[in-house]
Symmetry: C2
DNA sequence: TCATTAAGTCAAGTGTCTTGACTTATTACT
DNA sequence: AGTAATAAGTCAAGACACTTGACTTAATGA
């Protein structure tokens, strides 16, 4: 009897799962609402005062929350608000881009404490690995210099790089970072740092950043359209980043557009890469960012044509995102100079009609997000923080409770 | 001090939540794997043998599972497999379509026990409500006739109708069921049946059906492209149906395509509605389904042109779905005649290149799903069953534990 | 001044999972 | 055959985290 095909089942849970969830819910409530008293927390989470007291006490002992001065709010005993302690946890974020790698250290509330970058030599991982590990080590030791306990409170290293992952590339496509894609990055970083390492694409990282400290803060359904060297969408669905089967969900830049009888991926038309090509400049030029920002600020003609063309495609992308994901809002972010993003946003409006047009909207259909060269690294760092502290289904299940 | 903005927080959980989750996990494991012993369940769910024993005992008392004959599997005491009891729960599904309404009664494992349909008179809800309530009542009493205890074990009424929901329609768009959209359907059905009523769009219902008894069974990331009068995508993400902010996620039929200088929604080009228009036939004709099937079987020329054109758009839709959702598989289903769906699938291939093309795939990129006029009603009925018995995050939280 | 209101604590109680020893039933080896 | 090994499943006590209800504390308002 060959009855040995593996049994598939979801994992069960127990007291630990309950407790882990409730701790995360507390932290999440404090993150969203700023500072809350135990009584407030009990009402908001539907737990009893006693339970909240116990958990808060424990979190305070762990250095994750601390009390503020008591506040008098009418009759009754004054309440003691609690807030997150920024120094309660740290994470390191690493962005691996085409010509540069950036690392940041952030704290529990998402403030960037240390940042550093290094040029990535050509040759892919064989030349770049050491640069990256040195960069991370540098940021890590600088963090240790300004925050005692940081090593003990480091929850992980989040890495971000352009996707898609694990796809058999066409080899001759210069838009893909072929060599890095094939490289066992997770294993190398784990071995090189001893940290808990995770990996996401840059659009997902941008979305993670927006959710922790940006326009998606406290929003459970948002899509971040990320315009960088390529284009991607970071998906916040049901309050969690959605990764898809292989971490490639949201790779809208790979969507083929048909025009003039030929098909072109979106990101060949509307990304920074296409702008660089349009301007015939070298993407590896370190002064490029400032120059583009300057051109955009001056309303330069050479950029104007690209902006107009890109806006058409981005307008359609937003329409498509609204149609397929039905989010509360779409956030336009990127690793593009801010002046350029502003021009893009201006050129994109008005949006196409879609199911997002409904009475009673509270959020705008399109909002600007971060367009800071460091936002991807920040989002990469936000990944481990989120994994460690945000409420999520997986955190309840027994197989996730070893940490 | 105006500190009274509402506090936002996720709900905590307690023992009840743990227990509810573990019960659901057991049922899910039995649904996916067929029949499992207590020891198997303990290993698969990572719970202890004792816990599994207690839960199984309770589920057996509740009539949801039952033991089968012991099986000898090598050394050791023989194991006693348990399976789901079909008669353990029932649900009623209701499809409201343009010219017809269908209702089915299903059991815990998704078998259709009763089915009935009725024509929907023009005039929208004012004329249709009574027809619908009578249809549901009829199915319900027929179910009571063949399954004792059915009333006690009825977990809800699931309704499905074309989306999108709550969108300010353009009034003159005959493709939207304006009147029904504005009608307080949930309230009317709840009042008229006394059941727990839920509502989803027809593509979501089709996906729910595929997940319970179809091609998405046991798959956690799948998208069902539903070709009916309109076109929609039902999204199974992380093992749950994703609804979006307003239940409109996946409304791909509303995606605008640009060609020949004008924009057209996808579903004006590739849905059954477009076929009916292409053939100049009356969609309300009751014999239409059979006639189309016949034409498709005969390889009729008039259908061939539409199939070729529609296949182009559907091929692109599948590409887009793969790109944005990164699912394990895409399932093509519909309320179209099977012969037509088969011709469509044949015409769609080969698929466009996408991130779904990767080594080590186990599932095909595109699979045929149900193309049965009753599949939407079945999916509608599967909704309440899934809500009541499938493991999901929301079922753990305190505010969902009143039932 | 004192009733009222609300925050927060105390201590016992409850529900659900866990632990470890034990029983039962079968196969495999001597 | 007889016995050791193996695996399923049970028993009873234990541990853990949330709940309950009474109590304490500290403010407001009449």
């Amino acid at each position: 009897m060959n009855d040995s095909r593996p049994i598939r089942a979801k994992s069960g849970t127990n007291h630990e799962g309950t407790s882990a969830h409730n701790r995360r819910v507390m932290i999440d409530a404090l993150r969203i609402n700023g500072a809350l008293s135990r009584a407030d927390l009990a009402r908001a989470t539907r737990l009893t005062k006693q339970t909240v007291s116990n958990i808060i006490e424990e979190l305070e002992r762990d250095g994750l929350v601390s009390s503020q001065e008591a506040v008098r709010r009418g009759r009754g005993q004054p309440s003691t608000p609690y807030r997150l302690v920024p120094e309660g946890a740290f994470a390191i974020g690493l962005q691996i881009d085409r010509h540069v790698t950036r690392a940041v250290a952030v704290d529990l509330v998402g403030s960037v404490l240390v940042r550093d970058e290094a040029g990535l030599p050509p040759g892919g991982p064989s030349n770049g690995t050491k640069v990256i590990l040195d960069l991370v080590a540098g940021v890590r030791s600088k963090l240790a210099g300004i925050a005692q306990q940081s090593e003990k409170r480091l929850v992980g290293l989040g890495a971000a790089m352009p996707g898609p992952f694990g796809v058999a590339g066409s080899g001759d496509d210069p838009w893909m970072m072929e060599a890095w894609q094939k490289f066992p990055l997770l294993e190398t970083l784990t071995a090189g740092t001893g940290l808990d390492v995770s990996l996401q694409n840059d659009a997902a990282a941008a979305a993670t950043a927006e959710r922790m400290v940006g326009a998606a803060h406290g929003i459970d359904h948002a899509v971040c359209l990320f315009v960088g060297y390529g284009i991607g969408a970071g998906l916040i669905l049901n309050g969690e980043l959605y990764r898809g089967t292989n971490g490639n969900a949201g790779e809208i830049g790979m969507a083929l557009l048909f025009a003039d009888g030929k098909s072109t991926p979106l990101e060949h038309r509307a990304s920074l890469a296409s702008l660089y090509q349009h301007l015939s400049v070298d993407p590896a030029d370190p002064g490029l960012y400032a120059r583009i920002n300057d051109l955009a600020l001056r309303g330069d003609q050479s950029i104007g044509a690209w902006v107009e063309a890109a806006a058409v495609d981005l307008r359609w992308s937003i329409h498509l995102i609204e149609t397929l994901f039905d989010p509360q809002t779409v956030i336009l972010c990127g690793s593009a100079p801010e002046a350029l993003v502003n021009r893009l946003i201006a050129a994109i409006g008005p949006l196409l009609p879609s199911i997002a047009e409904r009475r009673g909207r509270t959020l705008p259909r399109l909002q600007p997000g971060m367009s800071d060269p460091w936002s991807v690294a920040l989002g990469a760092a936000a990944g481990p923080i989120s994994r460690a502290f945000d409420p999520r289904f997986a955190a309840i299940l027994k197989d996730s409770l070893q940490s």
